[in-house]
Symmetry: C2
Amino acid sequence: MFESAELGHKIDKETYDAEEPVLRLSLLEAQFTLAKTRDFPVIVLIGGVDGAGKGPTVNVLNAWMDPRLIETNAMGAPSDEEEDRPRMWRFWRALPPAGKIGIFFGSWYSQPILNRVYGETGASDLEKSIEEIERFEAMLAAEGALILKFWFHLSKKAQKKRLKALEKDSVNHWRVQDTDWERFEMYDRFRKISELTLRRTSKGHAPWHVVEGGDERYRNLTVGRTLLAALRERLDGVQPEPAAAAAPPPLPSVDGRNVIDALDLSLALKKKEYEERLAELQGRFNGLSRHKKFARHALVAVFEGNDAAGKGGAIRRMTGALDARFFRVVPVAAPTEEERLHPYLWRFWRHIPRRGNCVIFDRSWYGRVLVERVEELSPEDAWMRAYGEINDFEEELARHGCILAKFWLAIDRNEQEARFRARQDTGYKRFKLTPDDWRNRDKWDLYVHAVSDMVDRTSTSVAPWTLVEANDKYHARIKVLETLCERIEAAF
Amino acid sequence: MFESAELGHKIDKETYDAEEPVLRLSLLEAQFTLAKTRDFPVIVLIGGVDGAGKGPTVNVLNAWMDPRLIETNAMGAPSDEEEDRPRMWRFWRALPPAGKIGIFFGSWYSQPILNRVYGETGASDLEKSIEEIERFEAMLAAEGALILKFWFHLSKKAQKKRLKALEKDSVNHWRVQDTDWERFEMYDRFRKISELTLRRTSKGHAPWHVVEGGDERYRNLTVGRTLLAALRERLDGVQPEPAAAAAPPPLPSVDGRNVIDALDLSLALKKKEYEERLAELQGRFNGLSRHKKFARHALVAVFEGNDAAGKGGAIRRMTGALDARFFRVVPVAAPTEEERLHPYLWRFWRHIPRRGNCVIFDRSWYGRVLVERVEELSPEDAWMRAYGEINDFEEELARHGCILAKFWLAIDRNEQEARFRARQDTGYKRFKLTPDDWRNRDKWDLYVHAVSDMVDRTSTSVAPWTLVEANDKYHARIKVLETLCERIEAAF
């Protein structure tokens, strides 16, 4: 993989001086076209051995192009706000919007590779990271991102020479840190592990470009030309190689039975029993939320359900037991302008809470496989791949210690009609009823199908779905609170 | 101020039980109306003595109303990302959008009062903080925010009793911390200083409501009713009392002379001299940006100027000298949806850099007093008060150690026309030219007037304007870089 980056590539000054202005101009033009159409975001990863010119190259890209349309992210040590959230949060928050180029100086590759090099993780951890990265990048590509990954390489001999030369340089000596020399000691191991990682993660939709780092002119032209070619190709309408095919579309079950119709919606509680159990469960839930172990976790609760199934009421019984300082309810409606310029899950990632906190989604990322599927707002391949992307997302949350609780509140058609009519008749509740609600009823069977696929495909051991029989509100609220307590107790 | 909050107010159970459901329903209705119209944000501050029921009251508000439309912010110790930015950044980032209620548990009052109580600051520091808060809240009110400030009070005797009772309570004992007892020792001092602060900052547009904290039912009803009355009043169209009048509108100078026309636009540099000085200045600027003292500062550069005055080119000469990891260029265009739901300056606050970093605004908050004034996009009172708000904003940045450099790049009408024509003729530059650019030319004199007012009113010792004669690009770029170096050197 690195052989051709150890040949001592060089570009002479005349060639460089002739090509550079043309390249700059073409890059600028491509950048402006991109900014105008805002068709897709460009994600450029910069990695490689120390002293191979990563920093200078990033500076050259900023100098050649319009820096107003570039966001350079130096991914050094995470801040405390970042430490307190799942590992990938900091990358999500830095993803560029469509129309811009985001350069990641250090990326999601840095920790998996370095941890393995220093023996802090085993071979299977690296394998797992690689698989996760593959899925993450496939998702980005499917969402339209143009991804370029540059690996700056130097042979062992060349690296040593370069580090020494840099140290002597009066202007650039600060670029060489002690850690660079420590890493140099690990050169062979670093090479082996990064070679494996690059080989495994170089895909048509997110290719690695290994760049020999010894000659500045060679480096600059290689990176510039590669970026330009990729930009031009996409701007000219060439679609990227599709990522691995999604699972085949789900078929309706052959005997017509499904998890939703199998629910016993007659389950109900008497008012007195409800009030007793509510008080008991809210106390238990409150105690758990203040338990010292909770500070190591975070709670992410998702409420989905038929219209008028009582999500709001269930959420209120939940928040009623919590200290207002530590929860936030996020009602999910149409995405904002900024959200639409980012990959689908970006708008949920931004609300992921710090440790010790709780966030409650009133509707959620499952909109993709529910309303967007049924109303045909998203093409089939988008919602089909969403199942896998959502599972990856939730696994990432769970790995960080997030406790996930997902509720589907189910009512039947008659109960829904009765509730709609009651809303129409009650002053302040009229606000909650929209013409959409009546329209959605006509697609009842399609929704049942979509919900049952959703449960089949996204109820996992780390983030199981809880189906809540909600014709009786008392029963529903108690089941929600009980499940929350059990999920937290299990996590402790 | 606190006398009537030491009377031992109490509400009996029957009265409470009769009023509570009505109040809740009315609050919900008001909340839904607000969510639908998204006319204004509601900002609720919660402060006061410890043990006076601040936390429980916030929880009650969340329980009574729809928590999906409330954002509760516990302003405890700042995170490292917050520490690294001006003091007010954390409040700005937490401001609720129009249509929502933001509850601040702890607020911009906490530190000024506590620092003074513990003798860390002097009386004049508190005075200064009070003035800043007054201006900040006047700005929020003028931007449309409904502001309610609740101060929970207990007499010294009642506080002692309550703290002791809380400590014995098996459920709530965690609410009492050592610091609460430490503060109790300071009761008299705390009372005196908070009394002064409240008295000074209780305004028609942002009134303080002192609530006796001894009786839960009294507390809840008082806060609930106050919030409801304020919401209803605003929703019914009653406008808040105007904040202190802005300065009178600027008159055109009587002799027709102004700072812009006084510029000598013939200033120019020869190419050779330009290239030598550019190399020298970029080196100097680069050295300063990597100086260890820079880590205690941040650089905020603002570029404004006539269309086609060469802002982009000047910015590129600046960024060309910087390490791409530590700067970000923010091109300012029309606000996004989320930005429009917040006070004007919110969209700039979100880009304020951490210490050691640099952010360059290509156009800026001065749009308010330039294009928005001239094109009549904002009413006169909005842009008139913007001068003062901007000065406050920049002073806040400067106090934190931000180095501010503001450039107005000036060209004359002939030069502009020549540049427009050149853009039309150059492929990739055509992108930069819009019909707006031609239209703006018709308002040249209005712009000159607006720019000269802007300079008069916002060129301050902490954030002076640099007027750059930009008919000659070489001269302009050198003057920009030179000024930047001087500003940083002065700050060191």
